[in-house]
């Protein structure tokens, strides 16, 4: 089995259609993107004993909130430390291992819920699931870039779109399964997690069997690789350990951190925010969150594809400049009680949040070349892990601070949005400071013998 999974057994035969690789990558990302739907489990898990309402001994919402934060933190760490290994073993083995981790994580979490042992849920969904998230997220990136040297943004955008779309499948699936398994004595969370673990394992393994790596020297028909580096697109390569010594890596780290923090904080508060600002029902607020998820997903493929034509630096310039403007004017739409413009503003913001994730691999490829792009991408995802903690904490803290100081709930979000705008301006400055990598960091070509 191990032999069939290694890189040498996944090299494409002549005539292989490269458009089979994006659906293989989507098999992985649509599954691990389920993590964004974790909140559907929160309420039933918080009343696992009381069933219809929380009872003595039930877990609290803040205790359960740590599960998602832990999963995102482990995602960042496993992507950072597993990146080199993923490059070495190839996408098929990495996807299979991600399937094992992610699915076993769900099953262990389900057992933890069934036994009502919270550390087991942390271990399952947070640690094992988080490892599956990190390895799965980076597993197809460098392969896609290899198959699509002419359209790297489109290729990685298609895969990473799947991570945004995973919640759109995972949330209704989990709700339907919990409804099926719930009874007078159970909320149905445990069997739901186990069934989802099995389904996702099958889906991810199918993806790992479809994926192929391009043979050495392969190029799409009619593609002429640039002979010399363009201003912001190199033809050279930088190894992961050398990339970590460049200012470009850290500038992009801050770029990703700012973009993610600005989006993730609001995404977590979206339901509460629209209920408090526009007095809509919880059902309508759920509709708002769903709409944001669609724009988060669509933005990934739209902006990443556009970046192939506009350039990565210009694309991020639009994210930060337009994002800052929208954050500044969004409170005005709230004061005017114009829900259409308010929703539209956040839809665009969330499309750029998703676009930031999807465009970063191509930005890294432009600056550091293709040889270690997957491993460098993995290291950069620590910015996501940091933002996953900083974003919600920032938004929650600012909101609570204002409310305890007498600000009306509906107005408490304005300051948060202005702070997000400032954060985006920091990202804008870092993006503008990105320059091509110095020659001293480039991988030296082996001398001819």
């Amino acid at each position: 089995m191990a032999l069939a999974l290694d890189r040498s057994h996944s090299i494409a035969k002549p005539g292989f259609n490269r458009w089979l690789v994006p659906p293989a990558a989507l098999c992985i990302h649509l599954c691990i993107g389920e993590a964004y739907a974790f909140s559907v489990f929160t309420k039933p898990m918080a009343q696992a004993i009381g069933i219809t309402a929380p009872a003595a001994g039930d877990w609290t919402v803040p205790q359960l909130g740590w599960i998602f934060s832990l999963a995102i933190a482990v995602l960042g760490l496993s992507a950072a430390f597993g990146g080199k290994w993923v490059e070495r073993v190839g996408p098929r083995m990495a996807m299979f291992v991600a399937a094992v981790f992610f699915s076993s994580g769900l099953i262990v979490a389900g057992i933890g819920v069934s036994l009502h042992v919270l550390p087991l849920v942390y271990l399952g969904y947070g640690v094992l699931g988080g490892c599956g998230l990190g390895i799965g997220y980076i597993s197809p990136v460098s392969t896609l870039i290899g198959w699509f040297p002419d359209r790297p943004g489109l290729a990685t955008g298609t895969a990473i779109m799947g991570f945004g779309g995973g919640a759109l499948i995972g949330a209704p699936l989990a709700v339907a399964l919990m409804r099926h398994f719930s009874s007078a004595t159970s909320t149905g969370v445990a069997p739901t997690m186990v069934v989802m673990g099995v389904l996702y394992f099958i889906w991810m393994v199918v993806g790992s069997q479809i994926v192929r790596v391009p043979p050495a020297g392969w190029a799409p028909a009619g593609y002429v690789p640039p002979v010399a580096s363009q201003k912001m697109i190199t033809t050279k390569n930088v190894l992961r350990e050398d990339a970590l010594k460049t200012p470009q890596f850290y500038l992009l780290w801050v770029v990703l951190f700012c973009n993610v923090t600005a989006g993730i904080g609001v995404l977590g508060q979206a339901s509460l925010m629209i209920q408090e600002m526009f007095a809509v029902t919880p059902i309508a607020a759920a509709g708002f969150v769903g709409l944001l998820s669609i724009f988060n997903m669509a933005g990934r493929i739209f902006w990443a594809s556009m970046s192939d034509f506009m350039g990565r630096k210009t694309t991020y310039l639009i994210f930060f400049a337009l994002g800052a403007v929208l954050y500044v004017i969004a409170p005005t739409f709230g004061h005017l009680q114009n829900i259409v413009l308010f929703v539209l503003a956040f839809a665009v913001i969330l499309s750029m949040y998703g676009g930031g994730f999807a465009t970063i691999p191509a930005y890294l490829r432009d600056l550091f070349g293709t040889v270690n792009v997957g491993a460098i991408h993995g290291a950069l995802l620590t910015a996501w892990a940091a933002a996953g903690v900083a974003g919600p904490v920032l938004v929650n803290y600012i909101r609570e601070y204002q409310i305890t100081h007498g600000v009306a709930k509906a107005d408490a979000y304005s300051v948060t949005m202005y702070i997000m705008a400032v954060l985006l301006l920091v990202g804008l400055a870092c993006n503008l400071a990105v320059r091509p990598v110095s020659d001293q960091h480039h991988l030296k070509e082996a001398p001819a013998t």
Binding site: C27, L168, V280, T281, F288, G290, L291, S293
Partner: protein, 45 residues
Amino acid sequence: MDELEERSEVVNQDTMLLILAWLFVGIPLAWGVADTIKNATKLFS
């Protein structure tokens, strides 16, 4: 079977695999998007 027929069969198999692979990811995604849009309409009703 001559070489041309053999090649055409390989192309047909590839096309079929391509369609199946995209349906395998496209159908669940389309279901998720449709379900989400149905819920999102409640925001403006």
